[in-house]
Symmetry: C2
Subunit: 469 residues, 2 copies
């Protein structure tokens, strides 16, 4: 029995501590058993509750018990388990840089390929939400859904794709958490270790890392040199024909044709930026040009509307979509249904179309601004792409400059970007950098490129003449 000695020099809370720790040590109190509640024990022993609390605090600090607010204190397991050495337990991983996920603070940031949140049509979003919240289907939307996607959205996407001519009678659609998950599911279903997969070089690192992790043998093909692919006999070709990330390049009709002629290869067409054409004539998608119907097309609401809602989709031959649905089921059951319903409302109501027009006119202005600034401020010997849409422009500095090494200096000057290295597949892009212009207003674009031009030109001027030649 527990008795406290009030005449002892040992404080009461300490006596309590000794009592319980020795009971635990001797096994009289077993792991997981609950100690009396502080109030209860204080009453029993006729002492203040804070005394009990102090004893329990010490027991917890010393690792004898574990406390749960509202549930009580439990005896902890001791010594039975060895701590896991995680570095040994998990195979080593490349340190992953979280590209595009973190705002760059007070810097003028060309680092992230995403829309400007100043352009978000918040009222239109609120309205779409409210329509879903007051609609009759709300409870069903909040209930467990189907791995293929929220059925009304699926039907809408398929119907739109049919009207546009990008979905044939043998195609179906699956809704995914944006294009990234579309690529991930395709990787799961189509790629086995050792498979040869042709990708653009430079390429979006989220795509490269995913296929690499799946064990694919990546073949980096310079953008626009599609005819080089055939001799590699790839199983898959992943291409972004419109406003590619990072180069901003658009494949010509002839290049699209060349891709379609690679024998035996399935094409995954990443059309994530396709809805953001600022100039030039629209070209048919690979999916439309592919008379076999075998091309797999990926699209998303993320670049045109709200990236924080993760909703994209895949249009492809029914057997492929069926397999993607099975993979989706074990991956995460289904995509968030509330966001699917809201985006459907946003699209069906015409608000998406309206917003797209604003995005197109803002994008066109921003593109003009960055081209103007590049022309004016980049050092002699630099080249840069002239995108017809999308969010990214690719700069190649004179060859002896290293955009990665210059980044710290650029940041010190108040501007940031992603060095070409991030996008490498098999060739070096050390002298290149990506400028994502869609998230910045014209003024910031001009200011930012001017700062970059200064940093690069200073470096350029500091090189000995021989090096320049």
């Amino acid at each position: 029995m527990l008795r406290l000695d009030t005449s002892s020099d040992v404080p009461l809370y300490r006596q309590l501590y000794q009592h319980y720790s020795s009971q635990i040590e001797q096994g009289q109190l077993q792991t997981g058993e609950r100690l009396p509640a502080t109030r209860e024990l204080a009453g029993q022993l006729g002492v203040n509750r804070t005394t009990i609390a102090a004893a329990y605090e010490l027991l917890e600090a010393e690792g004898w018990i574990t406390g749960e607010v509202g549930r009580g204190s439990f005896v902890k397991a001791r010594g039975a388990r060895k701590a896991i050495s995680w570095n040994e337990f998990m195979p080593p991983a490349e340190p992953s840089r979280r590209l595009g996920a973190h705002p760059a603070g007070p810097l003028i940031s060309f680092a992230t390929s995403r829309p400007s949140e100043q352009l978000f049509p918040l009222d239109a979003f609120r309205k779409s939400c409210e329509e879903v919240l007051t609609g009759p289907g709300l409870a069903g939307i909040l209930q467990l859904g189907s791995p293929g996607g929220y059925e009304p959205l699926r039907q809408y996407l398929l119907e739109s794709a049919r009207q546009e001519g990008v979905a044939g009678p043998n195609d179906d659609v699956i809704v995914t958490n944006g294009c990234q998950q579309a690529l991930d599911l395709l990787c799961r279903v189509l790629v086995r270790p050792g498979d040869a997969v042709a990708v653009e070089d430079p390429v979006y690192p989220g795509l490269r890392n995913l296929f690499r992790e799946a064990g694919a043998e990546l073949i980096g093909i310079p953008v626009g040199q599609s005819e080089a692919i055939t001799r590699h006999r790839p199983k898959l070709i992943v291409a972004t024909p419109n406003f590619q990330n990072p180069t901003g390049a658009t494949l010509s009709l002839a290049e699209r044709e060349t891709l379609l002629r690679v024998p035996g290869a399935v094409i995954i067409e990443n059309d994530i930026y396709g809805a953001l054409r600022y100039s030039g004539e629209p070209l048919p998608t690979l999916k439309q040009l592919d008379e076999t119907g075998g091309t797999i097309l990926i699209r998303s609401f993320s670049k045109i509307a709200f990236p924080g809602l993760r909703v994209g989709w895949v249009i492809g031959p029914r057997p492929v979509i069926q397999r993607l649905i099975a993979a989706k089921q074990i991956t995460d059951l289904h995509t968030d249904q509330f966001s699917q319903a809201v985006l459907l409302q946003f699209a069906k109501s015409g608000r998406l179309r309206e917003h797209q027009e604003k995005m197109l006119s803002a994008g066109a202005e921003r593109l003009r601004a960055i081209l103007r600034a590049c022309e004016q401020f980049l050092p002699v010997g630099s080249t840069y792409s002239r995108p017809q849409g999308g969010m990214n422009l690719w700069v190649e500095l004179p060859e002896h400059l290293d955009a990665g090494e210059l980044l710290a200096r650029a940041q010190a000057a108040g501007v940031t970007y992603l060095p070409g290295r991030h996008f490498e597949v098999s060739r070096s892009h050390a002298n290149a950098l990506r400028l994502s212009f869609a998230g910045l207003c014209e003024e910031k674009i001009g200011e930012g490129v001017a700062l970059l031009g200064e940093v690069f030109s200073n470096e350029f001027a500091m090189q000995p003449m021989e090096a320049v030649v």
Copy 2:
């Protein structure tokens, strides 16, 4: 030049068709080139626009061109590509049954482990949405987020876990698309082909299929026989100590201790149903009992609130969470941020707690109802589990009955369930079935089990006496 012969017997649209198809055949019109707009061509040729439209329709039907609404008609590629044989291209897959994803129509369905949508607190959900929609952070929520999760929600989850005593100083948290994605990411990070992974047998098929597809060697351990695990020397143990799916079983403290004593194994504790205890004293989690801090805990809002919003989370040692975040980044960038913000609001406002109480009282009633009905209606020789919480109860019929074979008869009688076969790992559960009771009101539960009892008892009675013994 294109000239139509109005005196010819060949209809004008047919002449147009012949003109264009031969131009394409001879390569004068190249793949991807655009045909003139119908209005323009009608004007040029001085014919009716419907004539042009008819010709284009025929060209499209015959596969010469492809039409895009609002963009025009383009020459299609011909004969260059061979159609993909998808069955050869993709490795064969087991046909995936979409368990739990489809409502069963007019049947009384015990087939899906999900909350009843009649209990959804729609007004509380609407209120939480409106608070997010009118809050100052809306644009940021709709912008691209962080792979670890929406920071305010992460902080809230971690703080709550610390207060509860389930997160220690070395733990961190990642938000996932429900528990299913938590398991998927853990599988990616921790499992290599050939790894021994101990799971309960029977077990939730979404867990079994995932680990199997990752190449794990699954060791099925009967629920409550944890001491059998050690000799298999598993690398991982995946356990659901509270109200396991499908058995409804809860591990005793001693069994939890036994799991923690398996040397060298990392434990993944799936606590998806933990917040739904209807009776009995709460027990500490494995994570709390594990003094090394190495146990990885999975939880979710899906069973307690809205499964259609895909938000769950993992609490675990920081090195593991860091790797999960890297995996999440290439999987789908991050979980839907609007739903994260709404669920945070739902939890912080106290509405979740309020709803949990309603769920607990409804769950307790439903559990009592199904136990009562099982007692009354199941045939002699049946046994069934007596869960203290969660959504599922496990029935074992007399051994010679096959719950899979009886399903069609049950459905004909107006009731459905999932046969034990769905949950098999290494032992047969042919005579067993899972009854998910949380989604049905008491009346339907009684009615449904009565119907099942009738079907099973009829079958039971039809067996020759020898077979019964």
